[in-house]
């Protein structure tokens, strides 16, 4: 019985010692957990951005001309944008507020054809609070690089561009390449697949797919452009957007500068892809 009392007492003392060790380490542990949790929020935010924001704001937040502004930009973090519109809070508040509620009305001085969507469930969007927090953490993590000059925006390909003459002969196109292009920095999917800003490319209901429409469109009575083949019609839609405005849409909605941004090969790939959508 004596050794039981001794061991029991020893256990109690040892327990107290363990608790003391834990107590001594708590401030560091709690700080460590906070740091690592914030880091995990950035990771989560990056994944959500990839799925939900990239089509409009670009893979690296560099923005897409004519679709959505750059987020990885110095003027967002140095306060210029905030000052310009007279926002009194911090950059973080600004980002959080914009992501949560979106921008139902375009900011003055911009003419993006689409609105920044509402994301928070609190305002009817799809994302939970913790997901909004993660996105904010991710966007705010651009600060350092943005202030040093921002993302390396992928420039229009150097050298030859396709221009606006729809009769130039194009090289052979690759539909898979074209599909990849529409999902990249050009921003096509942001208007044509995700949003309802432009005509949907995929067939739906009675409306045939883009390939079928291109085959007949230039023969229609109301057609105002100059295309003589489906390929020319598609190229025209891309580089001379106002030559013919699709019924139900206004002019100037689609960016007008693709002729200066695409190589002939890119254009051929895009056309090949669009033709394949039947």
């Amino acid at each position: 019985m004596k050794w039981q009392i001794a061991l029991g007492t020893l256990s109690v003392v040892a327990t107290v010692i363990v608790l003391a060790i834990v107590a001594a380490g708590e401030p560091r542990r709690m700080a460590g957990f906070t740091t690592s949790y914030q880091a995990r929020q950035v990771e989560t935010g990056a994944l959500i951005f990839e799925n939900s924001c990239r089509p409009c704001h670009g893979a690296q937040g560099e923005g897409i001309e004519g679709v959505a502004p750059a987020l990885n930009a110095a003027d967002l973090f140095n306060g210029n944008r905030l000052r310009a519109i007279g926002f009194a809070g911090t950059v973080q508040d600004y980002v959080r507020a914009t992501i949560s509620s979106g921008r139902p009305v375009p900011s003055s001085g911009t003419n993006y054809p689409q609105r920044m969507p509402t994301w928070s469930q609190r305002f009817g969007g799809p994302l939970r609070d913790d997901q909004i927090d993660s996105l904010v953490a991710y966007v705010m993590n651009w600060e350092e690089r943005a202030l040093q000059g921002g993302a390396e925006v992928t420039q229009a390909p150097p050298g030859e561009v396709v221009g606006t003459d729809i009769t130039v002969p194009l090289p052979a196109g690759n539909a898979d390449q074209g599909k990849a292009l529409t999902e990249g920095n050009l921003g096509c999917v942001g208007c044509h697949i995700l949003g309802a800003t432009g005509p949907a490319w995929l067939p739906s209901g009675d409306t045939p797919g883009m390939g079928d429409r291109a085959a007949t469109r230039f023969g229609q009575a109301d057609y105002t452009g100059h295309a003589a083949t489906p390929e020319q019609y598609l190229l025209e839609s891309i580089v001379l957007t106002n030559a013919y405005v699709v019924e139900g849409f206004g002019p100037d909605l689609m960016p007008a500068n693709y002729g200066q941004r695409l190589t002939p090969q890119d254009a051929a790939d895009l056309v090949a892809y669009l033709l394949s959508l039947r």
Binding site: M1, V18, L19, S36
Partner: protein
Amino acid sequence: MALFRVHIPILDEVKSKGLKPALRDKADDLITRVTAGLDIADVRGVLRDDPPGRPNPRLKPHAEGFWLHMKPTYYHNLVDGLYPTFRLGWLSVYAFAFEIITGVFLMIYYTPSPLIAYENMLDILSNVPFGRLMRDMHKLGAEVMVIVVALHMLRTFITGSYKFPRQFTWATGVILLGVTLFLSFSGYLLPWDQLSLWAVTIGASMAEAAPPEIVGRNLNLIVRGAPEFGAGGLLRFYLLHIIALPLAGILALGVHYYKVIIHGHSLPPGVENVGEDTARKVPMDTRTYFMPTILTRELWYVSGLTFLLVAYSAFIFHAPLEPHADPLVTPLHITSPWYFLWLQGMLKLGDKVLWGVILPTAIIGLLVSLPYVEVGPSRRYGDRRIGLSAGIVSVIAFAVLSYMGTPYYAVPTSPDQEAVASLLPQTQPGPLRLAPWGQLVLGSYEAADWQQAPTPAMRELLHTFDEELTRVETADGQDVEGIMVVEDWQTDLKKVTIRVVWTDAATNQPHEFSQTAFLHRNSDYGQGE
């Protein structure tokens, strides 16, 4: 005339006896009250293990005190040691108390709402001193309790203690087993992370399978509070976890304990004649009194186990916390808690109604009715060959079914997903997230060329990937290529894409499956959560 008179009796005593004797008498009095019957001299005698006086004053606390009236005054010498009880019942009581104490601590910081429950968990981990320790202890304690209670049941089965006159003790024990399991299960949902949501969803889907359809549907609504888990379901599980089940447990434990006292601890099988029960007729010379022998032993077990639990949770065991629950994203390879794996294993065997509803109900029925059906009079091992063999077979079946419940057994997924999941599993951090961040060198790597990777960590990752791919390849006879791309993405953030590319032998079509992970320098998955 004074308005009121203060009467302090001790002053009178000091006046009549002198200061020291008066204080000593007072202390004696106090101790006697606290111990419900032992004065200072008696307590000293207990601690020194002196022989008790006559009449034995150490019996008084059993008669007068609340706590000790639940304990027998003496045991038979033969049940004082480890065998045959292994003190497992006592340790079950202890685990229950341990869970209540740690649980109340956690309750202070927890709100049962999907909007904030997960944030509460983060707070407990990042902002509450001892928060992580308490959470780890509560989780560890729950698993220990399941184990201890199961072992306790096993031992009462093996020693035949469920037989006459203890049938009802066994029946209340089965209720306690159910309470224990459901306490663990209901607690599982509360952190509201991916693991809790999906593990509990698997369990709750059995309620849905109950026939006929109308019963299943309504049972499901009652359990989940809505067709799917959400605010209603979380609140229900919380209330079950903190009110209904503990209450049921305390009631059942009261009855269970009362029966144990009434019948005494069964003696080791074999020392009594067949059919006899002499647990309550212990001759004077074979008694071991509760005080001091049993008491010391039990307190030593408790303090020793407390030390183990505290130290293990402080330094080794850390309860995981997965990403926030998301009803739209089902993680690959989700498993129920290990003590329900056997059920998950049975569900894989076929019909949900048969294996998930009828059979589990039958098992419960069998357990409750066991002592009333198996009425052979002898508790001796030699006379119970069939019963004991059936017990062993059940334990083996439990182990096999549990194995079958794991993802290693018959989970249909595509090999490409398996290969990617070997680096980037969806229910735990996994090798890629645990790899040292600094060693992930930017570039594009092929799994087959793992030996040329620039850092040891990358070699190891690609090697794992390659082995998994080879496994897949040999299974399907396809040519599979694995690629890992590491890109610099943001300050302290890398993007890692794991890609599997293969050509379908039948159609000659190229296929691709890829998954992306972003890894931050500081995310530190190594700390357990």
